[in-house]
Symmetry: C3
Subunit: 308 residues, 3 copies
C-alpha cells in the first residue's frame, strides 16, 4: 500500500478530551452519543484518523457488545484508527504490572476487531505527586525503570510475548520512547529492541518527550539517525528549548511542530527516504491541543506533498 | 440578541498605535484624518469592531463637537465600538484619583453618546520606573492596592457609583483583573464584586495578565472556573510559561492565543456554555501586536464556529 | 525602479541546506542537477528570489565555466539573486584574512556576472569550540574584533577598497551587524560606516543577531532608529526574549517574524517611509528553517501590501 500526501494516516490523539463525558461521567461507560460528539469535533477539525489514546476510551476494556457499538460510532464519524496508544500502563508497574499485562494482550485482540494494525506501549508510569503538581508534568521526575539485568530481562520477555501475540493477529507493536525507561534514550531503545528481537516490534521515536526535559540532551539529529530506521509508529510534537549558561537554567515550551527545535521537515524527509511507512500521531500539551494538532496535521501533509 | 460566529463582537485594541499621530502630535487632538488613517489599518486587517483604549484617544475627554466628529470617522471607517477600556487611570490613584473618578463618569456619558454598552475599569496604575525600564513591564513590580478595609471600602463605593451611573445610561461596567489590585486574583475579584453588589458591574477575566508573571500562579482552570460566571467583557491574550525548578527561574512570553498556556478553545467553550455573551477584546504585547490581534480574532471566530 | 508588495525582492537563504549534495559530497562541486534539486524546493515553497549564502555554494569560487552553468540552473529554477551574503569569512580573520579578502573581491566580480547588485560582508568569524557545542551557537562567546585604532583602521581600509570595487562594478556592499564586531552595536556600526565613508557601502541591520543574546540589549526601537537610515540590505529573523530578574537568567528562542520581540510591521513601515529600497533576506535557525522563511516572506508581503 502506497500513501500519498493526502492519504498518509495522521491521527489525532484523544488525550485532550480527558476521560469524562459532558455530564462528568466516565467517557468509557458513556452513551455512544457522547463518543460521537467528541469524535465529531475531531472530524470537524479536519482529521480523518484518530488514536483513541487509552486515557480516553480503553478499547481493551470494552465488552464485545460495546466494542461493536464503538466500531459503528467510529464508522459514522468518518474516522478510522491506524493505531492505538496506551499511556502510563507499564507492564513493569510494581503494583499493577500483571493487570496491565493482561490489559495489553486484551487490547491487541480488541484492536484487531477494529482492524487496527499497530498498538503502542511504553514503560512510563502514573504521575508522581510532584508531576501532578507541576506546571508541566515533565518538569518533575517520574518513574525510573530498573536496569538490573534480570528485571530488564523480564520486560524484554513480556514485550516479546506481546509482539508474538500481535504477529499472530497480523499486527505490530511499537515502543514509545520516554525518559528514564528502557527505551528512554536512542541507544537504550535500540538495545532493548535488539533484545526483544522480534519483527513485529518497532519503535515510536517520540523525541519530543526528550527535548522538553530540563536536562542536557543528545544532539537531536543523532537521536533521529539512531531511531528512525526502527520506527513503525510516530508520536509527533515539538518544543522550543533554551539553556542559560550563566545560571544553568533550562527552558522549554510546547509549540506547533513547525516552530520547535526538532526540524520535522528534515526528519520526516529522512524517515520517508529511509523507508518509514507508519502512521503519525499528533499530540500537543498545554494551550489549545486540538487546534495545534490540526495545524500540525496540515503541516505534515504539506511536507509530504513536497517529497512524495 | 443572539450572535453567530461571524457577528460576535471581537474588538481590536488601539493600544498598539500609541498616542501619537503621523506628525508626532497627540492623537487625542489630531485631525480627524489621522484617526481615520489608524482606524483604517484596523479595518484593513479585517476587524469590524474596535476598542479605543484610552492610551489612544480618550473618548471621555472629547468635547461634544469632537465627539460628533469621532462618531462620524468611526462610521466612515466601518467599525463599531462594543466597549471602551481605560488603562492605568485608577480611581484609587493617590495623586490623581479624584481626576480619574471624574473622567470615569464623563467617559460613561460620552460612551453612551456613541452607543457603547460597556466600559472597562481597573485598579492598575501608571508604570513604576522599574516597569518603564524592563524588557516587559510585567517583569517589574507595579502598584499594589491597599487592602485595609476602610480604603478598600472607598474603592467599592466609587465602583458602585460608576455601576449605578452606567445602569442609568443602560450600560454596564467591567473590572479588569490585574495583579496586586483589588481584583488581582480570582478570589479577590469575586469578593470585590460581591461587595460592589450591583447588577451593572461584571468582571473582565483578563487571566493573561496573571499567567505572564514571574511568580507562582493558581491553576489556570480554577481561575476561569471562579471568574467566568461573572464575566461581561473579556480581554484575551496569551503567553507561554515555564518554571525551572533547579534554579527557581521563571520564563514567560507573549504568543498568539492558540499557542499559549491558556487553552482558549476550552475556556471560550466553557464561557459560552455558561451564558457569556460579552464582547472580546484582542490585545497583544511585543512583536507585531496588530498582526497577532488579527490572527487571534480569526482564531476566536473559528472556535465559535464549532460551538454555536 | 519601484517595487510593489508582490515584486519587492525577498530572498530565501540557502543556509538551511548546509553544504552537502544528496550523495554527501560538497554541493560546491556537485552535479548541476543537485543545485537544481535544492533550488527547486525553494521555488516550490513559493520563493522567487534566493541568496546563495556562501555556506552553500561559494559563487566567488566558481570557475567561469561552472559560473555559466550555475547561471543557467538558476534561470531554469525560476529564481533570481538580488544579493549574495558571505558568512564567517572576515577579512580580519587572523589566519585566513588575506585569503578571505581575495575571495571577497573575486565574489564581487562573479556576482556582477550574475547581475547581482549587492554583496553582504561581516566581521563574524568561524565558530569557537564552545559555539559548535552549544544548543544554539549564540549561547557561547565567539570572535571579538580588536578595536585598537590601527587594527580597526585596517578593516576600514579593506572595506573601503571593497566598496570602491563594487562601485566600479555598479554594485553596493552591505555590512552585516553582528555582536562583538566593528558593526556589533548601532553606534559602532554607524561610526564604522562613517569612517568607510563611501556611497557604495551600506548596513545590513540584522538586529535579530542581537536580540537573541543572553546579555542586556539596547532598546529595540532605538537600534532601528539609528541603523535603518543606512540600510541597503536586510537580513530579517526574529526571536522571543525574556529576562528573569530574580535569578539573572536570560531566555531567547527563534520564532516566526510575526511573533518575536522585534515588531517588524512597525520597523518595515518605518524603513520604507524612510526610503529603504533594498532586498530582504529571510533567515531562520533551528526548527523548520525553510518553512518558517516561507511564512516570513508571506508576512513581509502582507505588511508591504498595507503600506505601498
Amino acid at each position: 500500500m502506497t500513501y500519498t500526501a493526502e492519504t498518509w494516516p495522521i491521527a489525532c490523539a484523544m488525550l485532550p478530551f480527558g476521560g469524562l463525558d459532558s455530564h462528568g461521567g466516565p467517557i468509557q461507560d458513556a452513551d455512544p452519543s457522547e463518543w460521537a460528539r467528541q469524535l465529531g469535533l475531531v472530524r470537524r477539525l479536519g482529521f480523518t484518523e484518530v488514536d483513541p489514546t487509552d486515557t480516553w476510551v480503553r478499547v481493551g476494556d470494552l465488552s464485545p457488545e460495546r466494542l461493536a457499538v464503538f466500531k459503528r460510532v467510529l464508522e459514522d464519524s468518518g474516522l478510522t484508527i491506524p493505531a492505538i496508544s496506551t499511556s502510563r500502563r507499564s507492564v513493569m508497574d510494581p503494583e499493577r504490572g500483571a493487570e496491565y499485562l493482561d490489559y495489553s494482550h486484551r487490547l491487541l485482540d480488541n484492536a484487531a476487531e477494529l482492524g487496527v494494525g499497530i498498538v503502542s506501549y511504553g514503560f512510563f508510569q502514573g504521575f508522581s505527586e510532584a508531576q501532578s503538581k507541576a506546571l508541566w508534568f515533565w518538569l518533575a521526575d517520574g518513574w525510573k525503570d530498573d536496569f538490573t539485568p534480570e528485571v530488564r530481562d523480564r520486560a524484554v520477555t513480556m514485550i516479546r510475548d506481546l509482539a508474538e501475540h500481535a504477529e499472530r493477529n497480523g499486527q505490530q507493536i511499537s515502543l514509545e520512547m520516554y525518559e528514564d525507561t528502557y527505551v528512554g534514550t536512542p541507544d537504550d531503545a535500540v538495545a532493548f529492541l535488539a533484545d526483544v528481537d522480534h519483527p513485529a516490534c518497532g519503535l515510536n521515536p517520540d523525541i519530543g518527550n526528550l527535548v522538553r526535559l530540563h536536562r542536557p540532551i543528545e544532539p537531536i539529529q543523532t537521536m533521529f539517525d539512531k531511531t528512525l530506521p526502527h520506527a513503525n509508529y510516530w508520536h509527533v510534537k515539538n518544543y522550543l528549548r533554551d539553556e542559560d549558561q550563566a545560571t544553568g537554567s533550562y527552558t522549554s515550551f510546547p509549540l506547533p511542530m513547525e516552530y520547535g527545535v526538532i526540524n520535522y521537515r528534515s526528519v520526516i524527509t529522512q524517515a520517508v527516504a529511509g523507508g518509514f511507512t507508519g502512521p503519525f500521531l499528533c499530540e500537543h500539551y498545554g494551550s489549545d491541543s486540538l487546534g495545534v494538532c490540526a495545524r500540525n496535521r496540515d503541516y505534515i501533509r504539506s511536507i509530504l506533498s513536497t517529497i512524495l
